[in-house]
Symmetry: C2
Subunit: 242 residues, 2 copies
């Protein structure tokens, strides 16, 4: 096992609370028993319980609502929780946004390839709807960003691989133009919609290689566009923003 | 920008400390100024400073040594810091170790492909040395685990991509047999050394496609071996262990 040290009581309590949430499939926002009740359930001291709750809070499993009537509430950890850890490591290794683009250019074609065999008809319809929405509403910046994010998420989800989905979402949340303050022109948005359309065609024909190639072309072209349009932004060292 | 809320003072202090560590390339173990000195440098209250230090501690940037003569010490965040976040998300999505294997089988061939063009002669020598060590000392379990980890790290490092290196290390730390309590037989260890040898040959000939194929064969075969030998372990839902 990972370590020979005995786990602290607070860690055991934290783990049991995680198991409780997962096994009962408690949705985000579900109120957990309050501190006093949890102290009794786990038969531990108040300090130990608070340590456990704080640990779960830093891990994104719960949030703690302050005030009377407050207390621990289910949050559930999400891919975006990796963004901060990854960005920090990237800052420490002197990596830039270009590094993130390259990783996407490596990862996303493989994701598209896997998805071609596994995509459901419903997911295919969703992708097609996303392309239509993006093309027809190319003058709306917010719609573009949302559809762009949705498109890439559906394909990653279609792989059925939680790991690949998490990695994909993490990179997206770092490279997202909205985060770093990039504006997409309407012309650019139409070009992205056309690239998405090609990917959908390849996926519809259930052709893994064609899907891989279409995605590689799209992500590679997008990376080149950014490097050309925003050279300082792309090459600037990553910085952790909490 | 990500959020419109003004960053808390403690977050600003945390960020400045990160920048200080990175810009001065402070190595792990370097003592930072003590709490009293930091309060003066940043001109903030003791509570705010402690909040900043706690934030940096949970992000793996520093450790705080207790007692007199203690205080904040540089740690530097590392890929393994993503292991916990990822494992938690995998538990919440009901993923298994098989999911981690599949992600490795997707990611590592692409890493090998990229590395073939970028690997230095020194890295090639290191890989060859690792293969020799693994083969010649196949009766030593610890040596096998260390060389196995080293081999895959060198190739990921050779891509020059911090992101791919981090992802690779994270998956390795989850799938590592030692962590989940798997024993490798000497015969199995020799088979792994032979597979590594084939990968080195492909990399030496600077053939991206051959490197990709050799790595795909190796990681795929390893995944199949695990699923066959440890079916319960591979299909069991992931569990967060702090």
């Amino acid at each position: 096992m990972r370590t020979t040290r005995a786990p602290k009581t607070s860690e055991r309590v934290a783990r049991e609370l995680v198991n409780h949430i997962v096994e009962n499939d408690l949705v985000e926002g579900t109120k957990l028993p309050n501190e006093k009740q949890l102290v009794e359930v786990f038969d531990v001291g108040r300090t130990t319980l608070r340590e456990a709750l704080r640990l779960l809070e830093t891990r994104g499993v719960i949030t703690i609502r302050p005030g009377p009537g407050g207390g621990p509430v289910v949050r559930r950890p999400r891919p975006d929780d990796l963004r901060e850890s990854l960005t920090l490591i990237l800052q420490f290794t002197g990596a830039s946004l270009t590094d993130v683009f390259e990783a996407r250019a490596t990862l996303e074609p493989m994701i598209a390839r896997l998805a071609a065999d596994r995509l459901t008809d419903e997911q295919l319809d969703e992708l097609q709807a996303s392309v239509v929405e993006m093309r027809d509403r190319s003058d709306e910046h917010e719609v573009f960003l949302a559809e762009n994010a949705r498109f890439h998420s559906i394909i990653a989800e279609a792989t059925g691989s939680s790991v690949l989905w998490v990695f994909n979402e993490t990179l997206k949340s770092i490279a997202d133009g909205a985060v770093v303050g990039v504006e997409y022109t309407p012309r650019r948005r139409v070009a992205v919609a056309a690239a998405h359309e090609k990917i959908v065609e390849a996926l519809r024909s259930r052709d893994p290689l064609a899907a891989e190639v279409a995605m590689r072309d799209h992500v590679g072209e997008a990376g080149d566009f950014w490097k050309r349009k925003y050279p300082e932004l792309s090459s600037r060292d990553m910085r952790w923003v909490h």
